[in-house]
């Protein structure tokens, strides 16, 4: 099956810093989503982005499908950004299933 690797595995930043999280996947995809899991365990959908670039406030994401990677940018980090960020991908042919990446644990220090 498709492999999804995220880097870095852990990231500790001061409040106000910017960060870039990376997601590499091993095969062609037609579905890519970024999620944030807060410290209480709730998963929030941040972006549906199989290709191109999207922005939502301080967050933006870019997927380069031909090179099999996606990037999540967080600017001016706040303590509420802490948690685990997951990339999840779905394969070709209308495959509805998502395969989740290994995750990046982000800790924002006040």
């Amino acid at each position: 099956g498709i492999q999804v690797e995220q880097s870095p595995p852990d990231l500790i930043l001061q409040e106000g810093a910017n960060s870039t999280l990376r997601c590499n996947f091993s095969d062609s995809v037609n579905n890519l989503q970024w999620f944030h899991q807060n410290p209480w365990g709730q998963l929030i959908n941040l972006f549906y982005i199989p290709s191109g670039t999207k922005q939502n406030g301080r967050l933006s994401a870019t997927t380069v499908a031909t090179e099999r990677y996606s990037l999540l940018y967080i600017s001016s980090s706040q303590t509420t950004d802490s948690g685990v960020y997951f990339c999840a991908v779905g394969g070709e042919g209308g495959n509805e299933k998502l395969t989740f990446g290994t995750g990046t644990r982000l800790t924002i220090i006040p």
């Binding site: 989503q33 365990g41 709730q42 998963l43 549906y48 779905g90 509805e96 998502l98 989740f100 290994t102």
Partner: protein, 114 residues
């Protein structure tokens, strides 16, 4: 986005018993999924819950251990049967709506098996 609720939110169970987790959505959805998240790990898909027919299980998961029902387009249950401590995990219900490919997650059920 859909509003998803799960019951129970957490439970502590004895080995050998079974627990049924409910997932209720506030609107009709096309796809419903069940995931497991073991402590400190990523999410693993258990199965796709199909309305009116048997669920589609992923490799490593079987119906006898994780029976699933989906009687309509807004409700599904997952049962964890004959539990062992290795079943201690967060179990998450996820849905995909009719109008887009985005997936949304319920708050999860934290299960501890002693």
């Amino acid at each position: 986005s859909a509003v998803i609720s799960q019951k129970p939110s957490r439970d502590i169970c004895q080995r050998g018993t079974s627990l049924t987790i409910q997932c209720q959505v506030d609107s009709q959805v096309t796809m419903m999924f069940w995931y497991r998240q073991q402590p400190g790990q990523s999410l693993t898909l258990i199965a796709t819950a199909n309305q009116g027919s048997e669920a589609t299980y992923e490799s490593g998961f079987v119906i006898d251990k994780f029976p699933i029902s989906r009687p309509n387009l807004t409700f599904s249950t997952l049962t964890v049967s004959n539990m062992s401590p290795e079943d201690s995990s967060i179990y998450l219900c996820s849905v995909r709506g009719f109008s887009n490919y985005e997936q949304y997650f319920g708050p999860g059920t934290r299960l501890t098996v002693t």
